[in-house]
Subunit: 292 residues, 3 copies
């Protein structure tokens, strides 16, 4: 931390938090998002390119669509940025229809994927901060609205996954992202709370510093989780205690407890519960094998 | 009626229709609404407090959310009233997580519940009147819009129950509130029509009198229905005739006919058809037994 | 074409494209739309007239509702036109509850139906053009938004059929209009693209001429398809080639290929795939037989 202090952390954070996201970071966001779409069941790309393209757009721009819906603006507002849509459409085309599956193999190659995943988290953090700021602009004391808008901006398509799946003819009513929150969704919620506290001047840090720190946390955690094919969450220990205190939940959450390392290790090892992305990874491997 | 005239009914109605709803009446509304949520299947409160909290908010503020959606404003607009949200959240916490289930046992105790149910109907009537008035403000001659907005303000979460259930992982596509209207939903529709007629100056009563009379009708009926664990409806007789005349439906609706008392009795005895709330009551009883 | 030139095509197109749609064309639109609703499974008209009426309104005004949602305005905005709603409600009442099913028999009589279908396509084309124009007004360079809004204005209730069915207690998650596009939905998409290109001055025709030509194409095709009880599409040949080039789909789409006539014939004969409307026709026939 002293080294960072010498390097003038404040200026660095300021510069970082003002950096443009288009096209490099946004491109990484589109690639990783549509990669996850490819892992999903329902082979609609060839059967109905229109449905597949719409799903891809929801994966890339779902957070804007949801935030616009929640704030009562035009849901297709973001589609006025033709260059963003064209870039995302190009990524969709390359991932699904590139000859020899070449593009997919490149971006799904682990070292490349880890870089892209890290870049995606940079965009996610900025979206949360922008969402909270936007809501603050519309409702000066609407703290709950700020959390909600920051949350949907961070979680994006995950929060409407039931309806996104429906587009592909898949219907799984027994679960949804709110019943079984994945790490990015949970982190978006906590991030939205943090940014709202900052906007309310209840956190003793500047917004740019918070963006910097939260980006670092998100990128590191997501890269480690992706590298380990894990779907654990660094929050398990804290959550288990808070839920025990507040809601009287049984401490530790059963089997998962055995895997949770003691306090200093921030990342929980592979959870035994297979989640959506887990299955996606499995599918990916099978698909890769078929392709080889 | 003469006695009421002596008591200066007009002034009384005026005062009553201007009375503030927060916090007493709103509190009753939140308690009764979240009580019905607790009766619903899907034990999500402990599994996912976030999903449960969101459901509770939909139960308490669904009418505002729906009316905002229908009128094209921001659906989370009402969440700017932090004190209302905090009060509803406190009720949610107490009903689901209070030690020894104490709060639940208190408010579900029949005499207390009857008072709360009566207070809830006061809020419902005011919401219908406010919805119609709001729509009248936006569309001066949009009589149908007025009825729609008043209707959704009165019915609230019931009209989006399919999607609210989905949040809890429950999916019952074969039915919905429009196919099997419960008494409050029906009454909201008729109330919305009455208030729209009043707004169009087609009813020879002032709005405050109409609010007063409709509140009296709703509170009395709902209290009697709750006390008798009944899901009948005082409209069955009239509806059966109107449907017969307009739509050629078979008169009387089969078995229900036997239970319907002749004209003067306004409340139909227990209907043989088990509805959502019926099941809820059953579940409640089983739950109480388990808790004891 | 020379004859049309002599007849002053430009003026004719101008007059045609400015012609009022209410009440004749709109009436035809309502009749044909509610006719398709009657073919749908789920006998709710007698069980719940309210749900049935709402479905009928979605069939008639779904395109306005969807376009309003997509552009962030009030979804019930169109319901301010009381005369349109009353006319559509009258059609709904006559089709579902007319004594002896007389009205239904008249409008479902093939020659009458063909005229109504042609008139409906006139309205559809105008809606697409109006949708694109409206979106152009809101987003001057939002070409994608224009296509989206034109598309939903043309397709109407088809795009929300999953949710419209849910109102009637029917749930078919395995399919939707985007996975299996019917001819009108596809044509609306292509029409929306054409009108957007025209709005962007990339098509060397005036808007009124485009409206005229597209109406002619739609009306002719839909009348032929209806007369032949067919659900093929004149686009199959082109689509099959484009999909082969762009998405590497197998050429021709299997069995359908045998039925496709060589280039000059614009209408593909009866497709072996039974679609929604196909089933509707079947149901209609059975119903007519029962009625006789």
């Amino acid at each position: 931390m002293e080294v960072l202090g010498v390097l003038n952390l404040g200026d660095l954070a300021q510069t970082f938090s003002k950096m443009g996201m288009f096209p490099v970071f946004d491109l990484a966001y589109y690639i990783v998002s549509i990669l996850y779409l490819k892992y999903e069941p329902g082979e609609v790309a060839r059967r109905s390119p229109v449905a597949s393209w719409i799903c891809a757009m929801l994966y890339c721009f779902g957070s804007y669509i949801l935030a616009d819906i929640f704030l009562g603006s035009c849901p297709v507002d973001y589609f006025q940025y033709n260059s963003h849509i064209l870039l995302a459409s190009a990524v969709w085309y390359l991932i699904f229809f590139c000859p020899l599956n070449l593009f997919y193999k490149c971006v799904a190659f682990m070292p490349v994927k880890l870089v892209l995943v890290a870049l995606k988290e940079v965009v996610r953090t900025r979206k949360i901060a922008a969402g909270v700021h936007h809501a603050h602009h519309a409702y000066h004391h609407g703290w709950i609205i700020m959390v909600i808008v920051g949350y949907v901006k961070g979680s994006g398509v995950a929060l409407m996954s039931n309806f996104e799946q429906l587009l592909r003819g898949v219907w799984r009513p027994e679960t949804n992202e709110l019943l079984n929150m994945s790490f990015p969704t949970k982190a978006s919620l906590y991030g939205a709370i943090l940014f709202t506290l900052q906007e309310a001047h209840l956190l003793p840090v500047s917004k740019s510093t918070l963006i910097c720190l939260f980006t670092l946390f998100m990128a590191t955690t997501k890269v480690i989780l992706t590298a380990r094919h894990s779907h654990g969450s660094p929050f398990i220990l804290i959550e288990s205690w808070v839920c025990h205190l507040l809601f009287g939940s049984p401490l530790g959450g059963g089997e998962e407890e055995h895997h949770v390392a003691p306090a200093p290790a921030p990342i929980a090892p592979i959870s035994p519960v297979k989640t959506k992305e887990d299955l996606g990874e499995g599918t990916r491997k099978r698909k890769s094998k078929k392709a080889e």
